[in-house]
């Protein structure tokens, strides 16, 4: 009896050891993700930079707004639990979520929300989407969890504006360090930024609205095309947040899959309207005629053909006006316009190229087209930080090839000191009409006027809409594909195998 018991316990112990050993061999589903992103943002705070990459990494992951454009593309409550519009349409009252904390432990409340919004509308604000908040007169703190946003005119789009990447809520204590170490209320907390390589986020286990399924997310900066190819080939990334030249080629791999998104990214040959000879409308129009936009359509391979545009507006919008043929490809007409404007053949022009696929390969084609009409083009590849500083901030450039990814951003043409240096005296009244439109029909009509106006002024050469096809691992589920916000939201993503 005693011996049997001793033997039984020894047997049990051996079984336990064996079980422990074999359990190690069992495979588990991954709970991390590595995403390739082309541009490294100069800072990680989307409230102070126009670089979309900051928002792509942090929006809804680290930083959250009062509202959100959700996975289905609908406006939904986020840090604001609900809101109410006054009968005169001039006051929005937001009820805020209770018991929400920032990653550093500080509390979210009405004071913090008011601070964030006041920061956007402040006179010295550098917020890239400040224009969306033009009608905001002021913000009142009603109590600990209620704020009121007072407007100068009714603005039905305010909840949409609050869902933008640049309207995320920041805390006064961490606002100064958010550029390098963003602290928000989101389901992921910032962990590391290895300059030139990656940004790592880790799951916030104390998130106020349930834990995310992924525990770790790494955004890898794909600075070179060859590097991207290498990383994709070896499976070192699980997906890319935007289309590249390689997407087409990698579609044949069984582990990758195309994922369509509802973004509105417009490729422009942006022109510094203030810099001679481009301060002359004829020269800008000459550029529009000189560029063979159809010749660019194979930039992403034969299967992913972009849609041409004739203005800064997506064809999917009901207010879209087809202006593609306003400046047909016509080198002779271009040359004539240049001659008329007194631009001598061989005039040197600098084309600044951001470190992206479209920049590297698109610029060669553009250069060829421009040289065909008499320009002597110098290609100037720059780092993204340099581009943000020299081109975007300082407007120190002549031409640049750039993708504008923000949805519904026609308002940038109404901005003063925007890097296009557009003489928008004629555009501003049109934009005012847009803002004051009383019906949807009127709004669309005015938006049509706005499109026509910038095309007539040939502010930039409008090239095409980027095909929104992203290469993603087949087993990844939960991507916010229907959201128009240029962001890679991690909270619903998980591995199915």
């Amino acid at each position: 009896m005693l011996r049997a018991r001793v033997l039984a316990s020894i047997f049990t112990c051996l079984c336990l050891i064996t079980a422990a050993t074999t359990s190690l061999a069992q495979a588990t589903t991954r709970d991390d993700i590595r995403v390739g992103i082309q541009l490294e943002p100069p800072v990680l705070d989307p409230t102070i930079t126009a670089a979309a990459a900051a928002g792509e990494i942090t929006y809804c992951n680290v930083l959250e707004g009062l509202t959100v454009v959700d996975a289905e593309g609908r406006i939904a409550p986020r840090l604001a639990e609900s809101w109410r519009l006054s009968s005169d349409g001039l006051t929005y009252e937001f009820n805020l979520q209770d018991d929400v904390r920032f990653h550093d432990g500080s509390h979210f409340n009405a004071e913090v929300a008011a601070f964030s919004l006041n920061r956007i509308i402040a006179r010295d604000s550098h917020n890239p989407q400040k224009k969306l908040f033009e009608k905001v007169r002021g913000i009142d703190v009603l109590d600990k969890h209620r704020i009121a946003v007072r407007l100068t005119q009714p603005d039905a789009l305010l909840p949409y504006a609050l869902a933008q990447t640049a309207a995320v809520i920041v805390h006064p204590d961490s606002v100064d360090t958010n550029a390098t170490h963003p602290i928000g209320t989101g389901p992921f907390r910032f962990a590391e930024w290895e300059a030139g390589r990656s940004v790592t986020l880790l799951r916030n286990d104390d998130y106020w609205s349930g834990k995310a399924r992924l525990t770790r997310a790494q955004f890898l900066f794909m600075q070179t095309s060859v590097g991207t190819e290498n990383m994709l080939a070896e499976g070192l990334v699980d997906g890319l947040v935007s289309v590249t030249r390689l997407t087409n080629r990698f579609m044949v791999r069984p582990d990758y899959q195309m994922r369509e998104r509802k973004l509105e990214s417009k490729l422009l040959l942006a022109i510094n309207n203030a810099r001679p000879p481009f301060n002359d409308l004829r020269v800008r129009r000459a550029l529009a005629h000189a560029v063979d936009r159809r010749g660019l359509l194979d930039l992403y391979g034969s299967e992913l053909r972009p849609k041409l545009i004739g203005s800064h507006f997506p064809p999917s919008h009901p207010a879209y006006v087809d202006l593609v043929e306003r400046y047909p490809y016509d080198p002779d007409r271009a040359r004539a316009l240049l001659a008329e404007a007194g631009v001598k053949p061989g005039t040197r022009v600098e084309l600044t190229i951001p470190p992206t696929d479209y920049g590297r390969y698109g610029s060669v084609r553009i250069a060829e087209d421009l040289e065909a009409v008499g320009f002597s083009v110098e290609l100037k590849p720059v780092e993204w930080k340099e581009w943000m500083q020299d081109v975007f901030k300082d407007s120190d450039y002549a031409l640049t090839l750039i993708m504008h990814v923000e949805p519904m951003d026609l308002n940038i043409y109404a901005r003063d000191n925007y890097y296009f240096n557009y003489d928008n005296a004629g555009f501003k009244p049109i934009w005012d009409q847009v803002l004051n439109a009383r019906s949807e029909a009127e709004l669309n009509a005015r938006l049509g006027d706005a499109q026509r106006r910038i095309t007539e002024d040939a502010v930039n050469v409008f090239l095409f809409m980027r095909p929104e096809q992203n290469l993603m691992h087949r087993n990844l589920t939960g991507l916010w594909e229907k959201s128009p916000i240029p962001a890679f939201v991690l909270e619903d993503i998980y591995w199915t195998q």
Binding site: I10, S225, V226
Partner: protein, 462 residues
Amino acid sequence: MIRHRYISGLTARTVGITFLVAVTVIGATLLTNVTLKRMHLTIEAMTDSDMENLMTSVRLVQQSESLIALDLILSGADTHTQRRTALIELNDRIDWIDQLTGTLLKLPQQNEVVLRIDSTQKQLSDSVQLLNKLVRKRIDGTASTRDLAQIPALSATNQELAGRLSVMLGYFAANMRQQMTKRSTQLEEEINRHQLNLIMLTGLLLLSTLLAGFYFEFAVVRRILHVQRAVSQPAISPDQIRVSGVDEIAQLATTVGTYVARIQAQEAQMRKIHDELAYLAEHDSLTGLANRRHLYAAARRMIAQSLQPVCVAIGDIDYFKVVNDRYGHAAGDRVLIHIAEQLRNGLRETDILARYGGEEFALVLAVRTHEAAETLINDIADRVRHSSAALESGEQVNVTMSFGFSVIDASTVGEAEEQEVQMLLNQALNRADDALYHAKERGRNRVILASLTTDAEEAESC
């Protein structure tokens, strides 16, 4: 003693064995854990760092080789677009190579190869930058003839540098592969070693189990069985119950032994009391001779068993009342004791003597013949006649005895019922009593054989 017992006791040994087995099991688990952790680290190093470095270096080899092709394309380009595309790809690759080399430079173990790779890569980068400038000049149309001549030369240098880089990276990759093979061999050895350890530990476990089994067999089961056997024997000896050692079982055995001894002592005491009582029930307390009850039982046995004739005699002290009257009852008692001694001394070991009444004694003796019986009784009467009892006062008292006896032919009795034997005895006693009566009648101090018939012959002794 208590301390010693604590150390070597059964509980202590059980705890010791359990501890040994537990330590072995825990040891095996810990060893497995440590080994697995170490293997995990090795595998992690292989996948995370070695594999990554190997892949990086292979990627680099590939990229540096493609640089050569790009240089060729660049120098052979006819159009500016071709040149620009080639330049862009060249720069893109150089950037990527730069980034990859950066990864290698971050390796903890920096060796000469990595440093040479780095310096060659830097040379190549510089050279490509120069080429960039010259090609741009050419595109812009500002290149001099010297510049134009320098392009193919630079291109050749680049090709040479890229080739050298490729060779060094190939060497680095080979080293990495070797390192991985080494790690893999190490891992294999580790696994083998652990397997051996596990086998040994399992063996140790089995051995401990067997030892524990043997220990319990010999130290517990057998000793308990020994006690059980000793206790269940018909004749228990407390010495046999004892088992060696000083543990709980030995204690138990000692306790059982003591208990058995105590029971046996009590049993002996009771038997002694019983014997005394039985003796008192069958003996006369004054003379120590058997009483009537004992006489009957012993006589019956003798009659039943004897192959010879059995003589039954009754003797009576002559004029005993006179002695009592003259000297008192105490003197009478002394005379009775004296007579009992004389009678006893005249008899054989197997003969039966009893006090039959006040001054009457009965004798049952196996004899050959009537004559032999008569001679024997006469001798006894004679002995009494010639002896005297000493009283307390110092006086000597002489008494005589009269005897009557009869003889039973016991050989015919065989296996008769006890009642028949008693009957025979009673008859014999009656006849002896009758004969005694005759002896008294005839003047006492004589022995008379009872006749089988009523007109019995008288035998007279002098």
